[in-house]
């Protein structure tokens, strides 16, 4: 009985509403944080940063954002790619227009701009529901991508139509541009992930989170008992877009450094982030991480096994990768329809009983 809750009593409401009510979970959380903040930065190299950890962290932010909208508030969105593009282009314009201001502020502001755009595109959600809304958010997706591609002001009239992140420093260390050390890239993303996860956690366990969930579970009843649907939906769109915008800004400035809107923030990105939260678990912060990990790390792992270990032709491995990822998604669903987060919860419940199952 390594993992247990017996004897773990709460004597205050504060203690009762904390993020990890169980002591063991708390210890696990702090160990993870310690490793993430104090160990990984010292051992990370370029490959681990650019291929695995940085994209994983950024997708986790985007997934948290979309999970707030879809998982907590029940509004299915396929505009994530477009909103990420807003974050990226806002960040680019801010970076190049006000080069003396700290990039961290630019990234947060980019999130804020995205929040405004997101709330504006959230307006139809007051009339349109369910899958119809999902398809309506595609209008945002296609329009935004077209706009950033078409209006040269957004890419500072560069001949190529690409946007390039110039070098910016935080505390004397480059965090964007080619000479960014891997650990700095990683740490800035980790900082924003931690921040976003914290904010998301606080919002979802409080009043506003309950109003989102109420709208998700039964919107009419929610309104009748006093939830303002306009406010709940628009705040969900705004908060969600804020995170997605930060993810887009980081994706452009820290991770890729150069971006073309149609290719990087196309419809595929919207679907990918949606897949992450569904696979990870709707309405779960942990699920956002799990889903991002599943779809970022699994393909790389499969490729490594197929190409480097088994020595198979790369194209066969790529095809098998699709087959395996697809089959795994279906398999997990049949075993546990509520995503990896639920699977994890069930595993923990089993652990609580282990080794005495009754």
């Amino acid at each position: 009985m390594l993992y247990r809750e017996a004897g773990d009593f709460k004597t205050t409401y504060v203690a009762d509403s904390q993020t990890f009510p169980l002591k063991l979970d708390r210890i696990g959380f702090w160990v993870t944080m310690a490793v993430a903040w104090l160990v990984i930065p010292f051992v990370i190299n370029d490959y681990w940063a650019s291929s695995l950890l940085v994209p994983f962290l950024i997708y986790a932010i985007a997934a948290i954002g979309l999970n707030i909208l879809t998982g907590y508030c029940g509004q299915v969105s396929l505009g994530t790619g477009g909103f990420m593009a807003v974050g990226a282009y806002a960040c680019y314009k801010l970076m190049t227009s006000f080069p003396d201001i700290n990039i961290m502020i630019h990234i947060v502001l980019a999130g804020g701009i995205t929040a405004i755009v997101g709330a504006a595109f959230g307006l139809p959600s007051l009339r349109i529901k369910g899958f119809y809304l999902a398809v309506a958010t595609l209008a945002a997706q296609f329009f935004l991508v077209w706009l950033f591609n078409k209006v040269a002001w957004f890419y500072n009239y560069s001949a190529s139509g690409q946007i390039n992140a110039p070098e910016r420093l935080v505390a004397g260390v480059a965090v964007t541009g080619p000479s960014t050390p891997a650990w700095a890239q990683y740490l800035i993303c980790l900082f924003f992930v931690t921040l976003c996860a914290l904010i998301a956690r606080n919002l979802t366990r409080g009043t506003i989170g309950r109003s989102w969930m109420a709208i998700r579970d039964m919107d009419i009843a929610a309104e009748i008992i006093g939830v303002n649907p306009l406010k709940a939906k628009l705040t969900a769109f705004a908060v969600s877009s804020f995170f997605v915008g930060i993810a887009g800004a980081l994706f452009f400035s820290v991770y890729l450094g150069a971006v073309e809107v149609g290719e990087v923030f196309g419809i595929q990105k919207s679907f990918l982030v949606l897949f992450m939260i569904i696979i990870g678990g709707l309405g779960s912060i942990f699920g956002s991480f799990a889903g991002a990990a599943f779809l970022v790390l699994l393909p790389v792992a499969l490729k490594w096994i197929g190409v480097d270990v088994m020595g198979w032709p790369t194209d066969l491995v790529a095809h098998f990768q699709l087959v395996i990822v697809g089959a795994l998604i279906m398999f997990f669903l049949i075993k546990e329809p509520h995503g990896l987060a639920q699977l994890w919860r069930l595993a923990k419940e089993k652990l609580r009983l282990w080794p005495f199952p009754y």
Partner: protein, 332 residues
């Protein structure tokens, strides 16, 4: 009549034809959604897969040749025969029925009664899976579909109408392929309607669409019905795959035509076959006309992709129940 006006009419005509092609894709979504409440994300990939299978069978390709060669060190690619079109289409349909059975047996039978979002997600997995299998089976090169469909503008229409305008007007351009697509779409829809009205299976299908429980209680096998609708969706996917593939060759991008169907579905509703047709026509005409009148002259072009969605969105904001939906009365 002025040439500009006539060209406007030409744009509308071609928009209608394009709309038929969009509707063909949307139809597959509607069939499955109506009968089982599944929003089938894999419909586009099914179109790709069925067209790949058809092209592969016709040219006598060995399935999984690349895989077999990689494992056994062999060098096989083709059986060395060509299968006639009709036989190949029938064989492809057999493959699609087997596929439908597998989908039902191995995936959705285990997910009965789950929430729509979970069913949707399962189709995402299915899309990945099928895309991978399609590549493994038939390779990822572009295949030419020589099923004997006519191509090119109809000279007859062009000649007959060239006198309408002045010297600047060259007559209406109507693609022969589009005309065939229209005819095929009409036959397909008529066939589907006849099937659902006049056959036992069709009536059972409609019963299931109306009420699962009630259908079960009168002894209809849900399993059978679902295999049936997935097979029908496979048929629709094949037709859409042939029509689109005739233009571009059969290639990966064929799976992206699903995106063209989404605004149509928004407009026409996920459960209405007439909605899919009329929605397709409205989207086709709307986006082409917008590009002709506003997009190309004032906005720098390439507006069709987003305008289709904006059109559907505007429509829904003013009429949330869609084209043929009944007025929604909310209850608690």
């Amino acid at each position: 009549m002025s040439a500009d006006f006539l060209y406007g009419i030409e744009v509308v005509l071609n928009g209608l034809m394009a709309g038929v092609l969009y509707a063909l894709v949307a139809l597959g979504f509607v069939l499955i959604y109506k009968a089982s409440g599944i929003f089938n994300y894999a419909q586009g990939v099914m179109a790709l897969f069925s067209a790949l299978t058809l092209a592969g069978i016709m040219s006598g390709q060995v399935p999984f040749a690349h895989l077999i060669n990689a494992i056994f060190g062999t060098d096989i690619h083709y059986f060395g025969w060509n299968v006639p079109v009709l036989a190949a289409i029938i064989l492809t349909l057999v493959v699609m029925v087997i596929f439908a059975w597998c989908v039902q047996r191995f995936v959705f039978r285990h997910l009965v009664g789950q929430e729509p979002i979970i069913l949707f997600m399962a189709t995402i997995g299915l899309a990945y899976f099928l895309e991978g299998v399609g590549d493994l089976m038939w390779g990822s090169d572009i295949k030419t579909l020589a099923v004997g469909l006519p191509q090119g503008g109809s000279l007859w229409v062009e000649d007959a109408t060239s006198g309408l305008g002045g010297d600047d007007f060259y007559g209406f351009f109507i693609d022969k392929l589009d005309m065939v697509a229209t005819v095929v779409a009409i036959i397909l829809v008529a066939g589907l309607i006849a099937f659902s009205q006049y056959t036992k299976q069709g009536r059972a299908m409609r019963a299931v669409a109306d009420d699962h429980q009630a259908a079960l209680s009168v002894g209809i096998s849900l399993n059978f019905i679902w295999v049936l609708v997935w097979s029908l969706a496979g048929l629709v996917a094949l037709v859409a795959g042939i029509m689109w593939g005739a233009k571009s060759g059969v290639q990966f991008s064929l799976s992206l035509i699903a995106l063209k169907a989404l605004p149509v579905l928004m407009l026409g509703g996920f459960t209405s076959i007439p909605g899919a047709i009329v929605g397709g026509l409205i989207i086709g005409v709307g986006e082409k006309l917008f590009e002709y009148l506003i997009g190309a002259p004032f906005l720098g072009g390439a507006t069709e992709n987003w305008f289709a969605y904006v059109l559907a969105l505007l429509f829904l904001v003013f009429r949330p129940q869609g084209l043929f939906g009944e007025r929604i009365i909310e209850r608690v």
